[in-house]
Symmetry: C2
Subunit: 334 residues, 2 copies
Amino acid sequence: MMVDKKNLEKKYSIGVDLGGTNIVSAIVNYQGKIVSRLKVPTLAEKGKEATVKRIIEAIHKNIAQSTITPDDIIGIGIGAPGPLDIKRGIINFAPNLPGWRDIPLKKILEDEFNMKIVLENDANAAAWGERCFGAGQGINNLVCFTLGTGIGGGIIIDGKIYHGNNCGAGELGHMTVNKDGPRCNCGNYGCLEAFSSATGIKNRIKSRIKEGIKSDFLNFDSDDELLDSIRLKSIFETARKGDKLTKDIVKEAISYLGIAIANITNILNPEMVVLVGGITNEGDKLLIPLKEEVKKRAFYSNYKSLKIVIGELGGNAGVLGAAALLWIPVNRSY
Amino acid sequence: MMVDKKNLEKKYSIGVDLGGTNIVSAIVNYQGKIVSRLKVPTLAEKGKEATVKRIIEAIHKNIAQSTITPDDIIGIGIGAPGPLDIKRGIINFAPNLPGWRDIPLKKILEDEFNMKIVLENDANAAAWGERCFGAGQGINNLVCFTLGTGIGGGIIIDGKIYHGNNCGAGELGHMTVNKDGPRCNCGNYGCLEAFSSATGIKNRIKSRIKEGIKSDFLNFDSDDELLDSIRLKSIFETARKGDKLTKDIVKEAISYLGIAIANITNILNPEMVVLVGGITNEGDKLLIPLKEEVKKRAFYSNYKSLKIVIGELGGNAGVLGAAALLWIPVNRSY
């Protein structure tokens, strides 16, 4: 479907963020404004057919609850966990979606909606969202770290999402930052994710407690479930109150994230690093020590020209980026 | 100067590799064949004017000793140590060339030779050489590690040299691989270069000896100069003979290089990693343990699709790449 730019400006696209916990669907206009948004639980445990059905239902409901007619929607972008075959629109495998193996999601949704469907890695979608509508507007070389349960990344080079040889680029959470570090979910040892993700931070606290180290404030001892339910915010607050155990772990998490950003700075010399995800709620309490670490470790001229910022789209970076995939298809590097 | 392709195939370009020790100039044809080559000592200690004069003399001599007339030469490419201002053709600073600060080498050579002059970072030139005429022919996403006295890198993305925001991309030797590692020349601690470059390996041996650890084979004790003069080849041979001191250091050097390649594999998902420089003379004795480390640490799908190879151009990667900058100017990403 070819639409001229003037016409395009009156159109909408749908962004879908397919997560292990929730499916978010949003109808988005050309300026990146969400005109209608819907969140439903993924219920991944009910199996892949049920989840695919829920995705379809969520999109239909999202359209129905809005005032937009399907004729004004140019397509649907999906941000999904990887590994993906982006070209063919297939989700090869998704650790958080049990049973998902080689699901041709693009084809399924094309058949259902008869619209252009674009599939993208969820971290790339978040990076693209910040690039198009958030902190990275107008920035052509940008790296986005998605800091959540795990750590992902999206790389924008020359204004396009960089996918690499077989759509595997941007696995920033699996940079080895300490070869003797703890085992990561990916099987490697000492990945950034094992130190600086929410799960990594909690696991590090658990293992210290198991070693017999006591927290002065948190009273979870060896109760893993209690710790799992504690929000990252509380851990950071406890660290700031002076609890040595959590303080050490949080300090280390920020330090390794700084090392990873410094490495990206020396390797890719981007104009901007955008941080998104739960941990960024800490604001300057995260940014200030982080920048210190990057400054200490990156080449000065690369550091000096780098902006390290927190994303502006909050939890909507993914859906907005997924929706934006439809607007500027020429900017996709495949 | 516009030349059609048929005409271009009968033309030549000059590649210059400006090093701290030697200046190499080579006249190269369209197929990457060196038709005339000249090497002169840089004599950097005589000062910048003297070195610039030696560069000019070397190029003139190289042309004179060949059968090529200046009319058949389309331009001169210079691979130079950084940091550089590639767009303006200025060498900002070069640690191995004392007194070099903001030298407008492009302008100087344009005035002298009245030809198109292109300046490029030396590691990027080596990467470009391997991409155009060596191991990476036809490969569009490629990362080259230059493993010498120091460690540099060149990144080819979508068939073009990737420069980053201000020409600082590709500093692969300054990836932090161990935050508590030895101090690097760049001021940071635990850079890849401090572990896996020739200098890094020698410094690690020296510091072990200073700690009182004895080598069973090498008899240099604390004589730093003797160790400096020993070739990397002898260190690897000594390690293979079973000398624990050198064996540990060599093993660690390869392991950290493997970590750096695994990180690049997870970040950029390139099709190929090309290794150039002295250490690659070890061939499979380097490649086999290196690939094992990368396999252990990189995402399997990224590793599986990756070729890790030794460059095919040996010490000529730099001059050939510098010469090749003239052939495919459209492939420069600025």
